[in-house]
């Protein structure tokens, strides 16, 4: 029993000492003060603004200075009010953060534009009206809630004061006892009342002071789009780097190797047959390795693509395809570098696919820019039956190459369509936003 009481007492003492448990009360009390103060200032601003407008309509009495002053107030009122609404919103969010540990992100401010139009746009934004709504709510509900919590905590003091006034008045003893019991009960539930009020305030704050769900999603989409663009750019940069490294390193060594083997082959005409054969084979293999490496690197990211654009770069892959390719490019102004890189990759991969799987005798590549769209069509007269998903026949490689192309196009908000009836012909159409 004693132990139980002691335990309860200790529990209560730690409970009282825990700062965390005082926080709802502090938050609510601060909210009462802030709500009243903010409400008063905002109401004052509105009243001054309306008075200025009214005076202008009514015809200002007095000197021209007054008319100027009224006009200035009438014009500056909305901007000042906006500034106050947002500033107090920031203040209230700081209160949530400092006293309740609740982080409410600021709502989006909207894109910067013409400075004169900015207040108009801000007043049309729902976020502004939500914040104003919170300030009105805080003025009414916040002060009421704060008063309730304050009353609960100070109930014993009030009761003592009440009873002191009635001292010696025997008839009122019952009333005094009732007041004491009520005060004790109020003190006991005070923390819970503070928590409930704080929770209601938090719900209102989250709904009105922060970004709405749509605005949150918009921010998220924007950050995702940005990170995706960064990944695409990083991939391009990586391809360029590999191309440069191979150009400056391995390719040069191979050229030098082939050159020296070529000189040996040319000068050792009277060497014994076995030696000549070895040198000839080494020379042939070196030149073949050089050609293969050149093909591979050309598919990565040719320097001419940065230097002269898509049109200039495409003839290289069209000419190197193992089947006759007709190339038509009509791109009067260049697209963004990332888009050019994707377009180049699409043509390169599509032609590789045609060569591997289509059994075609001719292919045609057309690239056109209309407005902000870059349209790439790679067609062939092969056996058709190509699909985007893996369900195709063995003849078209199960579509894995096309899936990769579609992903690459989608990474820059492009689309890919496949038209490939069995028996052919096949046309792959890729459309990309030009991005510049």
């Amino acid at each position: 029993m004693v132990a139980g009481l002691g335990g309860g007492y200790r529990e209560r003492m730690t409970w009282l000492n825990k700062a965390r448990d005082w926080r709802p009360t502090l938050h609510v009390l601060a909210g009462m003060a802030a709500g009243a103060g903010v409400g008063a200032v905002l109401a004052g601003l509105v009243v001054i603004w309306l008075a200025a407008i009214w005076s202008l309509i009514d015809g200002p009495v007095g000197g021209w200075e007054l008319a100027v002053l009224y006009s200035a107030v009438a014009l500056a009122g909305p901007a000042l009010l906006l500034w106050a609404v947002r500033g107090f919103g920031t203040l209230q969010r700081a209160r949530f953060r400092a006293l309740l540990g609740v982080e409410i992100p600021a709502p989006p401010r909207g894109a910067a534009g013409n400075w004169a139009l900015r207040p108009v746009r801000a007043w049309r934004a729902p976020a502004t009206w939500r914040q104003l709504g919170y300030h009105l709510l805080a003025l009414v509900g916040g002060t009421a809630g704060g008063a309730l919590v304050a009353a609960c905590w100070s109930a014993p003091v009030l009761a003592v004061a009440y009873l002191a006034g009635r001292l010696g008045d025997g008839r009122r003893l019952g009333l005094g006892l009732g007041a004491a019991v009520l005060a004790a009960a109020m003190l006991l539930v005070a923390p819970r009342v503070a928590r409930v009020v704080a929770r209601a305030d938090e719900a209102a704050g989250r709904a009105l002071l922060g970004p709405s769900r749509g605005e949150e999603l918009a921010v998220r989409v924007e950050s995702l789009a940005r990170s995706r663009a960064e990944i695409v750019a990083a991939t391009d940069a990586e391809r360029r780097r590999i191309e440069r490294d191979l150009h400056d390193g391995t390719q040069r060594r191979l050229v030098s190797l082939a050159l020296h083997l070529g000189m040996a082959r040319a000068s050792l005409t009277d060497a014994p047959e076995p030696i000549r054969q070895v040198i000839e084979q080494a020379h042939d293999e070196a030149t073949e390795a050089l050609a293969e490496l050149r093909q591979l690197v050309r598919g990565l990211h040719p320097a001419v693509l940065d230097d002269r654009g898509l049109d200039a770069a495409l003839s290289g892959i069209a000419a190197n395809a193992p089947l006759p390719v007709r190339l038509r490019v009509d791109v009067p102004t260049r697209c963004a570098p990332g888009v050019e890189a994707v377009a180049y990759f699409v043509v390169s991969e599509a032609l590789t696919n045609v060569a591997k799987h289509a059994g075609a005798s001719h292919a045609e590549v057309t690239v056109e820019r209309t407005g902000d769209r870059l349209r790439i069509v790679v067609s062939d007269d092969g056996r058709g039956g190509a699909t985007l998903d893996g369900g195709g026949t063995a003849a078209n490689g199960g579509g894995t190459g096309l899936r990769g192309l579609a992903q690459r196009a989608a990474a820059v908000d492009g689309t890919l369509a496949v038209d490939s009836p069995p028996g052919g012909p096949t046309a792959i159409t890729v459309e990309l936003p030009c991005g510049s």
Partner: protein
Amino acid sequence: MRVVIAEDSVLLQAGLTKLLTDGGFEVVAAVTDAEALLRAVAEHRPDVAVVDVRMPPTHTDEGIRAALVIGRQYPEVAVLVLSQYVEERYATDLLSERTSAVGYLLKDRVAHVADFLDALRRVAAGGTALDPEVVAQLLVRRRTDPLDRLTPRELQVLKLMAEGRSNNGITEALRVSPSAVEKYVSNIFTKLDLAPTDTDHRRVLAVLKFLGG
């Protein structure tokens, strides 16, 4: 014949110098960037300059631009441009400035020593040498198709003409008789509506003009 080499890889510069010296050329200067190339050409007035495309500082098309400058300022100096990739667009640029004593080849071609030295001599003597890859790139651009009227053999001969080869060169490359080559050439000119020409050089120009247009 006197040669200036511009190549920023020391390894390849040494290889080329040895190749050309062994081939009977005199390498009067070997430099590593376009500015030094222009100075060397001004100083030595070589018969031919062998120029790499990607050189410091930007490693893009310095060699092509230097070749254009040489073409304007020293028309008597022949230029052979070498590159690890050939680009039809660079070829068009080169040919727009000068159509004689100019060449544009893949670096790979130096491995075939005799062919390479032949091409260099041809360029130094005022002819042209275009890489087969460049010719192939020019061909993919053709739309209206008189080319479809050519037989596969005639198309081969057309490509060799575009590379800058003479009748002898074509005869050797295809291993056919000189009279057969003459017949192919005249067929091609008839089918493509080109005016017949007597010199190899004018013939190259006619073919390139056809491909380029």
